[in-house]
């Protein structure tokens, strides 16, 4: 074997100290796979929602509000109530989809976070595995239940105000809480015990380019998100609240005076204001979430079984997408739907990078299990 081939082969062998931290079907492995899958799924859902639902929903909400104004002009309180019901329905549609996206990705973040603290959870392997399964199941069914709330409603429900989809979501939330309490119990046991070391090996902390870049990039993204949030709160929060009251007052007054064109203009202003608020909050929250994601992914880099070139590509793609999405979400107010499209591409870059890293972790698992002779 040539020297180059020997070096290559050595690089493709899983080091024993790292292999010990990633045992087959261990809690950590389940949480890492499940966590990345939930984050990628949640982000894909968010991208689809942004492209196919968000703007259409906003336009229909504006139409609904205009219909309310027209009902006011016609002095028809019953029609006002009917139209408001329609607007409420649209807001529920939008709200449950945003909640689906947020809960799926956040459950993924929490799963990765739990994977990090497994060395400090003083429970048996079997119990830790069960808790990890419970957590991933809860993280999958909670967003599913939330998504279905709008479509299932109260159909066949024995309850007055809670539908079956809410029951599913609440039950899944219960699973998450049970799993989290189990983890906290394990942590408590660990730190109460006199045991000097951890209950299983800590995550290997390599000093690779990928890890350093994700760590530094992640903290910079969190910092930028925080600064943006502070700037928004100082500059726009109160102004937006005051403007909303002004616009609603104008709609009411103009509609009551039967000046529909002016009321319609104010309905447009209301839509613009909602868009301004939405992009500010989306930019703030996505910067911080992508920063957190980058930091979390820096920990699992030793498990991404790919060449350095591929690992660097996924890191660059992830950080590029993490900047493009919030920046172009903000620019949507200035350059319109083109910016929205570019922001969606940014989200797609993050998803591709995540799937690329997940493929690397899958390869790693296959390699590890192959070396250990694990079947199935």
């Amino acid at each position: 074997m040539s020297a180059e081939a020997a070096t290559h082969a050595a690089a493709r062998t899983v080091p024993a100290n790292i292999a010990a931290t990633f045992a087959p079907m261990s809690a950590r492995r389940l949480l890492i796979f499940g966590g990345i899958a939930l984050i990628a799924g949640g982000m894909l859902f968010g991208d689809i929602f942004a492209v196919f639902v968000l703007h259409q929903n906003g336009a229909r909400t504006g139409e609904g509000l205009l219909a309310v104004a027209q009902a006011v002009a016609a002095r028809n309180p019953a029609a006002v109530k009917d139209e408001f019901e329609g607007v409420g329905n649209l807001l529920e549609d939008r709200g449950t989809k945003i909640d689906t996206h947020v809960h799926m990705t956040d459950a993924g973040y929490l799963a990765l976070l739990l994977a990090l603290i497994q060395p400090y959870v003083a429970l048996s392997r079997q119990t830790k595995r069960q808790l990890a399964r419970l957590f991933i199941a809860g993280g999958a069914f909670l967003p599913l239940g939330i998504f279905l709330i709008h479509y299932v409603g109260l159909a066949h429900s024995p309850f007055a105000a809670i539908g079956w989809a809410s029951v599913l979501a609440d039950s899944a939330g219960g699973l998450l809480i049970v799993a989290l309490f189990g983890q906290v119990w394990g942590l408590w046991k660990h730190f109460r015990s006199v045991r000097a070391g951890t209950v299983e090996p800590e995550l290997p902390l390599e000093n690779s380019w990928a890890r350093r870049t994700l760590l530094t990039g992640g903290i910079v993204l969190v910092l930028l998100g925080f600064l943006h949030g502070a700037w928004y709160a100082k500059t726009y929060l109160y102004e937006h609240e005051a403007r909303e009251t002004r616009i609603l007052t104008t709609i009411l007054n103009e509609a009551a005076a039967n000046r529909i064109p002016t009321a319609a203009q104010s309905v447009n202003d209301y839509g613009t204001l909602q868009a301004e608020k939405a992009v500010m909050i989306a930019a703030h929250s996505h910067l911080i979430e992508f920063g957190l994601l980058a930091i979390l992914l820096s920990f699992i880099q030793p498990y991404v079984f790919l060449s350095d070139d591929w690992k660097q590509l996924w890191v660059k793609l992830l950080l590029t997408g993490s900047v493009i999405l919030p920046v172009f979400v903000l620019l949507e107010l200035k350059i319109g739907l083109l910016a929205g499209g570019i922001a969606d591409v940014g989200g797609l870059l993050v998803i591709i990078a995540l799937v690329g890293m997940l493929a690397g972790v899958l390869r790693y698992s296959g390699r590890l299990d192959g070396e250990a002779g694990v079947a199935g």
Binding site: V72, L113, T216, I219, L223, A233, A256
Partner: protein
């Protein structure tokens, strides 16, 4: 585990549990009523306007504005406490990679913890004392502490990398 890491991980866990319990309490006992009041008062404003009752419309709109002011801040407080807690726990795992002396790392961790607690607390107090100086000062001081601490962590990571 050194004191800075302990402070971040246990402080973060405690803050996360507190934030979740606060959110659970709010969701179970306050949120539904608040949302009903908010949606109801906005609809009522338009119904009153349709019925020709201008004063009733203005009153209902005021009620909507005040309810929403509190609702937005309550939700923000809950999510910011939990969000800051998650960042603290994650940073706690990797805090040894921050390239400063142990004592400096401890002060950065303490600034993160204190800022993460008092920044949302200030926002929460704004719902009790709208426009009050103390709540605003707390929120600004907390946000400034977190910002400076995060900046220091970024510099620390960069120092370690270089």
């Amino acid at each position: 585990m050194n004191s800075a890491r302990k402070l971040l991980i246990f402080g973060g866990l405690a803050l996360a549990v507190f934030g979740m319990l606060y959110g659970l309490h709010y969701a179970l006992f306050v949120e539904h009523q608040t949302l009903d009041r908010m949606g109801g008062s906005l609809a009522e404003a338009f119904v009153q306007a349709a019925g020709g009752n201008g004063d009733g419309a203005v009153g209902a709109l005021d009620s909507y504005t005040n309810t929403k002011y509190v609702y937005v801040r309550q939700v923000d407080v809950h999510s910011h406490w939990i969000g800051m807690a998650m960042i603290m726990i994650v940073l706690g795992v990797v805090f040894d990679s921050v390239g400063f002396a142990e004592s400096v790392r401890f002060w950065i961790a303490l600034a993160l913890l204190v800022g993460s607690v008092i920044f949302p607390l200030g926002v929460l107090l704004q719902t009790l004392q709208n426009g009050g100086a103390v709540p605003s000062a707390l929120a600004i001081a907390g946000a400034a502490l977190v910002t400076v601490a995060l900046g220091a962590v970024a510099v620390g990571f960069a120092r370690q990398s270089s």
